[in-house]
């Protein structure tokens, strides 16, 4: 039996899923083209049930990839019962989505979640009355406290077994119904054979301009849709999609009003938090403070684990050396692979793990939409809007989750720009290079300067790319949810899922790449690569030829460019071989040139091969340009 969870974002759907699926359950994550559903097996009442958690969506009108995926799943996959998770404190808005689900005529249960939250707001809902109006069972729950879940599954299983369909068709005003019936009666019946839906729903979807259905329509059907749309537009004075949305909107408000009674809300301190955190002055002060504390915390935790982990891998290499002949090719490969894994485990994980966890905390509390609100005006200056700040912030930890997070943007154009500029944000790996070289040899002020300079480069790049993709972005419409105390289970599962995504993308590349580079090292390919790269490294940037290979390593993992630099130069005292200005030029180049392979893999997945290729070319040219500029600024002579 397969039970599917659907619901709007922040409805507590994932919390419910975690309670049901539990940590002991076998969980699989199927990445779709742009969104993931989580599938899990759960044992309910002596029966094993497959539970699917669809991405949170506001509606089924499919304005974002997540919504298209949710709709396709509900229409095309086998669904024994759908559980519509509803935030009881936002009943009227949530019911608009519920009405759309009822239209689909699939076995449905409404899970009225966060009842405690609603009561605190003075909203009391009569579940029986609501159930009567909607024609589907309604179960009240408080998922975070595990209340009502057994009953929910009992009802869901009953609905699935008896295949109880919603018993009420959504009523609309008479003239709208006439138009719907007219269209339903005249369109080609084979149009939606693919979907088991009624002709009336098909007519609704077509008049709403739903691309999934319109794309199936032939010329005659399209003409009929346009004709009936005009009929609605003439009588209502607004486009057909708005007429239908308004019908649903009015009905949802009516049902919500009828089923709930409102009393005096309890005092809620959360209402006043925003008077500080979204304040026009204090909001920015706290934003800077919170970000500063966040990065300090990530850095402290990461540093705590990095050294002992690195020591562990070093002893592994020594152990291998003790048992093998160090001059063989096999040893070179084993050593390379161990070092590759060491980089992933000892250098990236210690920073990535606390970063992802901290981010999950900020996300679950609900702080990020507030940041988007505060930063919207600034993001507009670079051709984006507030929502795009989220991937940019993620970029400081690691560019891979940053690129993945661009999914939250609805416009493909915005996604591309946000993804490209995210790769220019110095991640924690580049942080080690900036700290290890610039801060160490030139002083921390120069390192800080490089970070500030980077913000300008990110802004300028955003501006340039927006000019190249001059599509008008509609701007920000973003729900600012109320603050919530984060649940540990949800934080851990979120961190784990993202962590795994990183591990799956990056580690095969790390291991394969390391082995390949070890081979190159064994056969002394480095002389050849150094010579090949000398036009850039020596002629343009004024650096020693030996840095060439390190740049190749840097594409594999950014921090390797520094580690390999020490190896390539043959001394840990870099300043003996390179002058401080040369160190600065090298770091500038390393900061901006070509994203690392893991980021490239993420880019390929999110923005496609063409734009990934452009990004590689752009960042290489940008890094060369900035490197040459730094060279001129620091007065390294051109030969």
């Amino acid at each position: 039996m397969r039970i599917v969870f659907v619901g709007q974002p922040n409805s507590g759907k994932s919390t419910l899923f975690n309670v049901v699926a539990g940590y002991k359950s076998m969980s699989a994550n199927f990445p779709g083209s742009t969104v993931n559903y989580t599938v899990s097996k759960a044992r309910v009442g002596g029966e094993v049930v497959e539970v699917v958690d669809l991405p949170g969506t506001y509606s089924l009108t499919a304005s974002s990839p997540a919504e298209t995926a949710a709709k396709q799943f509900l229409l095309e996959e086998k669904v024994d019962a759908a559980v519509n998770v509803v935030d009881a404190s936002l009943l009227s808005r949530s019911l608009e989505f519920t009405l759309q689900l009822i239209e689909l005529q699939i076995p449905l249960v409404v899970c009225l979640n966060m009842i405690d939250e609603a009561e605190r707001k003075g909203i009391n809902i009569d579940a029986a009355k609501l159930s009567g109006r909607l024609g589907v069972p309604v179960v009240m729950t408080v998922a975070a406290k595990g209340i009502g879940i057994d009953r929910l599954f009992y009802v869901a299983r009953r609905v699935a077994k008896k295949r109880e369909l919603p018993s009420i068709e959504i009523p609309v005003r008479k003239d709208v119904e006439t138009v719907l019936a007219g269209l339903a009666g005249s369109i080609d019946g084979t149009l939606a054979e693919k979907y088991p839906i009624s002709k009336r729903l098909l007519a609704i979807k077509l008049l709403e301009g739903d691309d999934a259905f319109l794309s199936l329509a032939d010329e005659n059907d399209r003409r009929l849709v346009a004709e009936h749309g005009r009929m609605l537009e003439e009588t209502h004075g607004q486009p057909a999609d708005m007429v239908i949305a308004a019908e649903r909107h009015a009905l949802a408000m009516e049902i919500a009003e009828e089923a709930s009674t409102v009393s005096k809300p309890q005092r809620d301190i959360r209402g006043s938090i925003d008077n500080v955190l979204m304040h026009r002055v204090w909001g920015y002060v706290f934003l800077l403070g919170i970000m500063y504390l966040f990065f300090v915390a990530v850095f402290k935790v990461g540093a705590l684990f990095e050294a002992p982990l690195l020591r562990m891998f070093d002893s592994l290499v020594s152990a291998a050396a003790a048992h093998m002949d160090v001059s063989t090719l096999l040893f070179a490969i084993v050593k390379g692979v161990i070092q590759g894994v060491a980089g992933g485990v000892a250098i990236v994980l210690p920073y990535l793990l606390p970063f992802l966890f901290g981010l999950a905390v900020l996300e679950d509390i609900g702080y990020l939409p507030r940041v988007a609100f505060l930063m919207d005006a600034f993001m507009h200056r670079i051709g984006l809007h507030g929502t795009a700040i989220v991937p940019a912030i993620l970029g400081y930890g690691c560019n891979v989750p940053a690129v993945m997070a661009t999914r939250i943007l609805t416009s493909p154009r915005d996604r591309i720009i946000a993804a490209v500029i995210s790769t220019l944000v110095p991640c924690s790996a580049r942080m080690t290079v900036i700290f290890g070289l610039v801060a160490f040899y030139l002083g921390p002020t120069w390192a800080l300067g490089l970070y500030i300079f980077d913000i300008f480069v990110v802004a300028a790049s955003g501006k340039v790319i927006s000019k190249l993709l001059p599509e008008l972005t509609p701007g920000m419409i973003l729900e600012v949810p109320r603050y919530q105390a984060p649940a540990l289970v949800s934080l851990i599962s979120k961190t784990w899922l993202r962590m795994r995504e990183f591990v799956v993308v990056a580690w095969p590349l790390l291991i394969g790449g390391s082995a390949l580079l070890a081979l190159g090292d064994y056969f002394h390919v480095d002389r050849f690569t150094n010579a090949m790269l000398s036009p850039v490294t020596v002629a343009a940037l004024g650096l020693p030829a030996a840095v060439g290979t390190t740049l190749i390593f840097g594409v594999l993992r950014k921090e390797l460019s520094m580690i390999m630099l020490i190896q390539a130069l043959g001394t840990a005292n870099v300043v003996a071989v390179m002058s401080p200005p040369q160190i600065m030029v090298f770091t500038v180049f390393v900061t901006f040139y070509i994203p690392c392979v893991a980021t490239i893999a993420a880019l390929l997945k999110e923005i496609g091969a063409k734009f990934t290729f452009y990004t590689i070319v752009y960042t290489f040219l940008l890094a060369t340009l900035l490197g040459v500029a730094a060279r001129a600024a620091f007065g390294i002579g051109f030969l």
């Binding site: 949802a252 505060l374 919207d376 600012v480």
Partner: protein, 85 residues
């Protein structure tokens, strides 16, 4: 007729509505995408919304309707006409 006149004289964009005002949405321009997006969050023509705050530097407007708070960017807020409630 008189009613019409009164409506028009008090109509302004959401962007130009100050904070702490209760207003009714009269029209939403800006294309189907914007309308659908707003309607998903429960905002439609005829709804009464409370303008909670506006961000500095030409930033977004925060409106509240039926318990949902929505940040609306300037470009979109300028395309939403409202009247005093």
């Amino acid at each position: 007729m008189l009613r019409d006149m009164r409506v028009h004289s008090h109509t302004r964009t959401l962007y130009h509505t100050g904070a702490y005002k209760r207003v009714r949405i009269v029209t939403i321009d800006g294309g189907r995408g914007v309308r659908q997006w707003l309607s998903q969050l429960g905002l439609g023509v005829g709804d009464i919304v409370f303008v909670k705050r506006n961000a500095p530097f030409g930033g977004p407007i925060l409106v509240e309707h039926e318990g949902t708070e929505v940040a609306v960017g300037r470009g979109i807020a300028e395309k939403i006409l409202v009247e005093d409630e």
